[in-house]
Amino acid sequence: MSAPPAPDASAPGTSAPATQAAPPRPRGTWTADVRALLALEWRRERRAPQVLPTMVLFSIGVFVLFRFGLQDGRVDGPLAAGVLLVTTLLAALLGIGRLWAAEEDEGGLDAFRLTPASASALVAAKALALWSFLLVLHVVAVPAFAFLLLQDGVDAGAIPTIAGALVLCDLGIAVTGALVGSIAAAARSRELLVPLMAVPLLIPLIALASEALSPVLTSPRDVVEGRWWLALALYDGVFLLVSWAVSDGIVED
């Protein structure tokens, strides 16, 4: 999408003081738009914290729930990976539901469509915002998980692997979530549709991430097979492509 030929001058109107010749507008780039839109998401979250505190508190609540639900509470191996990832998925659902709410309720989408910025920039910014929220969530939630539930704690050598798997998993959740959130945002029953659509779409992702995580949560630690990394990256890639391809359909009328 190219920037339209811009009118040369900028003046607020007849009553305002006449302005001198303004330099030609800089050619807006896609990345600059994404940066501006991502900054807006974070500014709104800082101004009225909603998504992050909810996701963090919810995750810790679920860990406590598992502690009692599993009676003895301590987990390791595939069970630990499952508890951590399912909790992440459920917490993400809360974020996905809010992701496009302001766009729908406050007319942000219409305002956006009056600007030359491209639809894919908005979808990318939404996915990046959710990704960053999920990464921040994990900075808090993974230590809490290790402290509250993990059988033998995390050994330092496993941290890069865990971080890598979660980064890839979060990216997949974020991209899929941005897509699902936008579909659900158009509907009356937004809150009900998000979990219905997101859970089946994310089952394969959680299955792959679980395969990648469980060896390092087992004691003694095991090596993660390379194919799980590859599959996770492929899954993320496929949904990145899909979101990019349908972004016009999401934003346009």
Binding site: A21, D110, T115, P116
Partner: protein, 267 residues
Amino acid sequence: MSVASVADTPAPDARREPSAPPRPAPAIVLDGLVRRRGERVVLRDVSVIVPAGATVALLGPNGAGKSTLLRVLAGLMRPMGGVCRVLGHELPAGRHDLRGRVGYLAHEPMLYRDLTVRENLTHRARLLRVADVPGRVRELLEATDLVRRADFPVHALSRGLTQRTTAAATLLADPELLLLDEPLANLDPSASARLGDLLGPRPAVPAPASPASGPPARPARTRVIAGHDPEAALAESDIVVGLRDGAVTLLATPDTVTPAQVTALYA
């Protein structure tokens, strides 16, 4: 339909400045425009030609299709039939080229409620690729008398102040075409006068002989104003378009409109 008669009406600038350069292409050309909502026809066979720089008063009862027409002209809704050319771009294909050149002031404020007035304007200006963002935002805050409230979140503003913020946001890119949906609703008389000036007509500035010799060329501002106040609308418009059930039932210049025609529109 007397499209031709209106099309032949010279643009107001041309009337005032006989020495002006050749008349620019019309800002809006609608020929048989159709828009449906599902199976319902919301706009049927709307044909109007608006010269660049003209002001159109869009009148009609609730549900006549005024807001839909404005949304179609803004490129927010696709026309489903007929010709719709805005600022030289055929819609819907050319709607991307229209972005940033059309200012649309809708019923809804289209502002993020948690952000301040300044943040809202700055964000929008960035996406609109405004050259000097802080300067332009300051300029509009002064023009709309919002400097003191610039750092208030939008949810803390009254409806009138929100409307002023929306007007400032509409003008950020200095659009050639202004689409105004009841722009002066919720405003006190002084704000109304101030905003009326700000959103008012503006003649074209011809290209200077040499780039250094004067202000750069600027197209005239074309305006389409939807409203329910026929008297005010007639006073400031060059063309009156009356919509009823999605069809144009009145198309005339203000001096030829009779009170009976206006009454019939709302009957």
